[in-house]
Subunit: 364 residues, 2 copies
């Protein structure tokens, strides 16, 4: 077995999910994530955790959803009981075709997801972590050769997470103490309030309220957004290519929008509900192991020298205990490159310029 697969498994089990003896672990395995699942099983055996593997296949989901009439039972008892009794939920993504469910009607999928909201909530109560095994289909989506994609993915995943967590803690501190963020870049000048909000140091570990591997971002929940922003990182949303989305905000809400490509998808998202017109997240990508866009949000939004904003739902982790932030059925991240002609200010002080933080070499 490729030694990197073993290292990936160890980071996932020890750093990310903090698995201990006696933990009841659900391991959700994608059809092409088998090899990583074997390595994770070995780690779980060594740590004397209790392993149950589930099978997460887009083709099975497609067959089931298309055949179903759409009248789904709410939170089936067997699956609910499984997640209620789980301490840890590890999702190993990796299929054979990233478009496996492309012909499932959106409404059918939505009805299915709505009927299972209770299961999803219980899963969020576990020490859950999502990762992917680098597969040929993900390489294809990234327009990359398989071996080159493997190198890319492991560069992103096998970081010195402890050291990155320390660096990200500086950014978190700035955001926690600040009241207003201003982002200036090409066709972008946006201000957002962040006072009263708590930033998450997303260091790829449940110990940091962080549930993605790779991770490497600091994010918070902004409000009262004013100004304009352009997202120049290309991406696929709802199966459609989207390029250079431009949003204009007034009193926290999108008042104008446009795009070079995919404007209809943006319209659909913004019209989903009231919350979809407001921002739910401001994230600062800090994983310099990610050196290119691969059209996979798990990686793209973590890339160093990028900033992303999400329309829609805010995360509870960013909010005071008794407060609910922006609510919405959607949460759609879009990314802007800040490596050139850009600056990020907190309360008028420049904390990052052209991708460099003020404590880094090259900041001027």
């Amino acid at each position: 077995m490729d030694e990197r697969v073993r290292e990936h498994a160890e980071v996932l089990v020890d750093w990310s999910a903090r698995v201990e003896a006696g933990d009841n672990v659900v391991l959700s395995v994608g059809p092409d994530a088998h090899e990583l699942a074997v390595a994770v099983a070995e780690c779980l055996g060594e740590r004397r955790a209790n392993l149950l593997s589930t099978y997460s296949s887009g083709e099975i989901t497609r067959a089931y959803l298309r055949a179903h009439n759409g009248d789904f039972d709410a939170n089936p008892a067997h699956e609910l009981a499984l997640v209620e009794q789980a301490d840890v939920y590890l999702s190993l993504g990796g299929g054979r075709n990233t478009s496996a469910t492309a012909d499932v009607p959106g409404k059918r999928r939505q009805a299915y997801n709505s009927a299972r909201a209770g299961i999803r909530e219980r899963r969020l109560d576990t020490r859950w972590v999502s990762t992917v095994h680098p597969t040929r289909s993900l390489a294809q989506q990234a327009n990359m050769a398989y071996e080159a994609y493997q190198e890319f993915a492991y560069d992103a995943i096998l970081r010195d997470w402890g050291s990155l967590a320390k660096e990200m803690a500086r950014v978190k501190e700035l955001l926690d103490e600040g009241s207003e963020v201003r982002l200036v870049s090409t066709n972008t000048d946006l201000t957002m309030r962040i006072d009263g909000r708590t930033a998450v140091n997303s260091a790829a570990s449940v110990a940091y309220d962080s549930h993605n591997l790779p991770s490497g971002e600091v994010f918070t929940a902004p409000y009262a957004t004013e100004g304009e922003v352009t997202f120049d990182v290309p991406m696929t949303l709802h199966g459609e290519a989207v390029r250079n989305v431009r949003l204009e905000f007034d009193s926290g809400e999108v008042v104008e929008y446009d795009a070079d490509q995919g404007v209809d998808v943006i319209a659909e998202i913004i019209d989903a509900d009231d919350g979809a017109r407001r921002l739910g997240e401001l994230g600062i990508g800090m994983n310099r192991g990610i050196d290119r866009y691969t059209d996979n949000i798990l990686f793209d939004e973590k890339m160093g020298e990028t900033v992303h904003l999400a329309l829609g739902r805010a995360y509870d982790a960013n909010l005071p205990e008794d407060e609910s932030g922006n609510e919405s059925a959607v949460h759609v991240d879009m990314i802007t490159d800040v490596s050139e002609e850009s600056r990020l200010e907190v309360d008028g002080t420049v904390v990052q310029r052209n991708g460099r933080f003020r404590w880094e070499d090259g900041f001027e």
Copy 2:
């Protein structure tokens, strides 16, 4: 998709497991059973059952068991809760290597199985059915080409089960009304008591207390066995080839044994515990879709014109409600060909001669 895969799925869901709307179904998927799983998912969607897929991989089991120190938690709560809330449990076997767990120490496996006895019992309370997807590794085990093996497997699985159930009902009736069975064949003359026992018409459906697909056998729990028997169908037991096992019984217990090959495996089985010296099952194979031995007990023991006997544990379904039959940690089936120079008698009446039942053409 191969139309036979769809038919297999339909037989499994409708005839075997009697799935209805609202059933909570666990679908256990082997790594190479994916295609059958997709077809089953479509059936389950159509019938509005609730689907959760688990992943059953010998390689994952091997990695986990070898890494574990052997001190297993009893009946982990998440897996126990899952089976407790399941109505139906469908196991789709099919890996890439039938020897995937060959280097797991027997003691480790035994400790794992013992720690999970409660989960196994709860699973037996569901409408459970075990089947296999014809894979290349099963073809290899059968010494067959892949396409030829597919034809073999679907001939066994896609029967007219209703019609076979009617024929098997005649055999069940004979056994239920009889007191003593005598089997005479080459190097075989064995008598067994069966009074007070109930035969199972194993028609590949939970409606018949039958949990294998394919099935096609009538079995009961004999006792007070006397005489000698030779099992001339070759098979692999505990990873070792076994040929021409001969057993001699006195007062229900094995008093002598021998084999042309694999006698040490037989010794190991017989020495497992007291119950391992007695018979737990007499089965009459009646599936004429199975026309050859493939070293897979799921198929071999159902083959028409064969009889099998198992050392060890008897099934509750054969016993009166308040009675427990032969108890043992083992249940090892061995098979004898009765297509030539053989006869099966119930209370002195020949009911089958040279593989033909008394109501069949060719019986004389």
